[in-house]
Amino acid sequence: MTKINLTKLFIILLTIVSSGCISDLEFDYPATPNLPVVNALLNPDSSISVNIYKLMGVSELSSELITDASVIIYENQGDSISLYLIGEGQYVAEHFPQAGQQYSIKVDVSGYGQISAVTTIPHTNPTISATLGSTWSYYSPPQYIDQIKAYPVLITLSPIENNNYLIFRLMAKRYGHYWSNDSIDTYEPIIPPRFDMVSLFSSDTKFTGVGQDTYYVLQNEHSSFQENFTLILWVSQFVWVTGFGDQGEHLFDTDLYLDVLTCSPDFYQYFRTYIINASERVNPFAEPIEVYSNIENGLGIFAGYSMQRILLNQR
């Protein structure tokens, strides 16, 4: 009988067991379809800007830009605004769109059919007010299995126009942190101003976060508000916005702003599916969510929104 060398056997077994659990997957990727992508988010605070690309392969490093397009935007199905190329596939016009108006886009590119889309820009909420509560409470965010010390943000709103939706986010102004010679900490605003997002949660069933995301609170689909109403959101007592070292800063030691986005249905669907798509990418077991598109004969988005920024706290 052959004598088995146990040491050799052990080494062989150990090598096999520890041979690594991660490997590249040899895969025949399907061909990438030839589709144009049009991206334009319209709001009254910015001039019109449209980006146009070709759909790129999954392993390509950059998008192929479309630079020979004819891009026209129509305001209220009447006045036409021609856009011109300024580079990087970006087409612009020195025109600020207005709330309450309807806009449509037509893009002509050789090799593709007529590319078009329609949207409206909603008005902002006329009587919105928001205050940061001064008494903390333990709050258990739905995305967490633990609880945090949190302060309430009380928001009063007037009715939301039909088919429009609200989205909330909280922004903290970023400061640079310096140590002077006499060891006194100094904070100065970064120029140009820079804002970081702060986690925001809702305990109201008509407004929730989506996916794994903790930054946005979205009005739920199919919910409507015909009368004035009050909403309570929650923000952690510590926010992670300080300049150097990423230390937690107490809420009341930061400049805090509440952004309220009033969205057209197209913007809302695009934003919602975008957030879910992006946040669920961290979970390899989640089914991917396709991002909404309203572009006829293409991909991307052409949608309007309005934004209000409310100061909640000043350091």
Binding site: A31, P33, S59, P142, I145, Q212, A278
Partner: protein, 807 residues
Amino acid sequence: MKILLLPKSHTYIHSMAFFPLILILLTISPEGMAQRKHLKGRVVDGITGERIIDAQVIDLNNQSLTTTNDNGEFIIFSNQDELSLRVQHISYIKLDTTINLTVISQINIPLFPHNYELQDVTIQFRRSMERENSTIVSQRLDTRQLNSIPGLLGEKDIVKGLMLLPGVSMGSETSSSFHVRGGNPDQNLILIDGIPVYNISHLFGIYSVFIPEAIQEVELIKGGFPARYGGRLSSVCDIKMREGDRYGYKYDFSVGTISSKIVAEGPIIKDRSSFIISARRTYLDLITMPFQALAQEEDNYKQTLGGHFYDVVVKANHRINNRNNVFFSLYSGRDAIKAKTKETYPSDRSINESTLGLDWGNFTWILRLFSSFASSTYSNLSVSQSNYNYGINSNFTFKSPLEPNVSATNSYASGIVDWALRWDINHQFNNHLSINGGVHSILHLFSPGKVTQEYRGGSENLSSTEGTAFLAPETSAYSELSFSRDKLNLSAGLRFNAYFPKNTSYTFVEPRLAIAYRVNSWIGLKSGYSIMNQSILLLSSNGIGLPVDLWVPATSNVRPQRGVQYDFGFSVNPPHFQSVNISLVGYYKQMNNVVEIAGGMSLMQTATQWEKVVLQGMGESYGTEILIEKSVGKLTGWFAYTLSWNNRFFEALNQGKPFPYKYDNRHVVNIVATYKARPSIELTCAWSLQTGGTFSLPVGMYPGNPEFFPQGFYDLLSGNDVPFPDLLEYYPYRNNARMPSYHRLDIGANFTKKKSKGIRIWEVGIYNAYSQKNPYYLYWDVKDGKKVLRQFTLLPFLPSVTYRYKF
């Protein structure tokens, strides 16, 4: 791709044509009127005296077949003085005997297990085919063979054995949940001694809750469902626990790589009552805890992580008198995982302690009275409870000599409790015709998502509770006729079900039919038809096997699932290969109101409003199953092949177009072989191959809006940056690609030796013997600046050894 729409009415009544058929059966002149003699018998295990349920008793003169009831009893009528009987069961050696009815009218027939040579008895081994073992209505499994299949880290697992059968496919590699003929895992009714078990997973699905040594029989029904079963669409897995040795005390210890087990059994009152107790516990936590403590680098900061599971099964039975027997069985099993941190601050002597725990488990029991009234009427009356719950708990305490103590507790719990009352009755008119009937009432108590928060600190005491429990009664009644004559075996039944969730009600009528016809001595045809409805649903937010799943009732907004299935097949016992049985079955199944969770919605986020995250749609599945089995001889085993298609259709998904199901495994091949090299050495290997499941693969990317996510985000599992977060992916349709094929070879060997006081067994096994890197999940990564798809393999190659001693 064809999807058939089913009616949306709350009341489903189909194929009333079954009634005439039943009436015809009832009007068959019972030749039993002319039968003056009968034999009443009980089939028992020749070694332990335990009753054998579902043994087949064949009258060889009349070619009529009857099966033993839940008390192991049967009755056969005859005009003749001598009765030639064949008694068989898949786990036992077949027995042929002749009985003189002028002398004997009652008999106990002992059957001996296949591995009889390890016992102190010798009987003649009969080499003959087991052709009656598999019918279209059920697949009865040889627990001895299932137990010989090597398990992961030495833990034999009945459920992993089920996954080697045709028509059954596994979900993810570690999951205990299985898919039968394209159904979802929640569509399997899994019964322990007749009680439903809602979660069969231990350690996130790596093991199932069943202790193999305590199981007497496993029956898997995939189609042509008997009317006595209901409430699930895809399968019934009926697991019967052993009753315990009636003659003497026996013990069975085993020490494995990660767990130990003990089984103790014996008579309570000799030949009148017996018991069996089995228990199992893992001890990875006990082994690793001291090492974790030693590994702590900082004196002021301690962190521990531990987890374990246990199972306890208790069963007892008692013969009150010749007519009445009482049974009690109980199962309790639980998983617990706990992470604990303790931080001390020497400066002010304050202590921060936090714990995070996750636990889930089942607790079930049943009390059953079996009675025989007249010579051929039996009754089974039972009361039972099944309780499944899980919880996530976090606790934080702060203790300081200078400040008031603070404690905060947060818990999330979900569960389901069933209380059930059931009465089944069986009457046998003659050798050819019998009727079963019964009523079954269940009171479901659902508590999907209860959130409790408490805070105590200084003068502040806060507490809140969110989420409510609610009741949903369900009642069903059934009748089932079984007819067996010459070449024909037929079972026709009707089941009526009424279900009363909040603010609404549903009633269903479910016809059932199973027919087997023997063309000649070696070819048999079989066919089945059944309608099933399912009033409780499992909402599962991912496929990882985490217990963060909700069992919820159908409501006025979420409709019950409904399935219709047709089977047709044949079996062949080649005349010159009597030990081989070949069967081929084709099936077609439609499922309505199957559920999915809306994308991006977390169950924990919406537990109190789960109805809002449910999407309902339709499914269809069809395919062919081939099983070639050899059940006697030194070499036994089977070859199973399934070719199937499995699609889903949801209005809210994939732009309303049909798409392949995640577990649409086109080809599944399983080969199991056991070779008895010597009486004391048994070698087993099991090889599995299946087409990879489907997944959504992007075929293009385009720029998104980076300002939406200025911070970027991290992969939950790897902690790495998600590559190219600003690029959106384009999918032409859902589940447009397939994972690589999955294949694996497990090998094992059992070395048995008789000792002076018992039997010692060494069980050696290797899981994934050639270390195939099967993908557990896929993810995107960056290589040389390009996005590449990578796979993570969980279980490459795992040897195991288990020591077992029986006495």
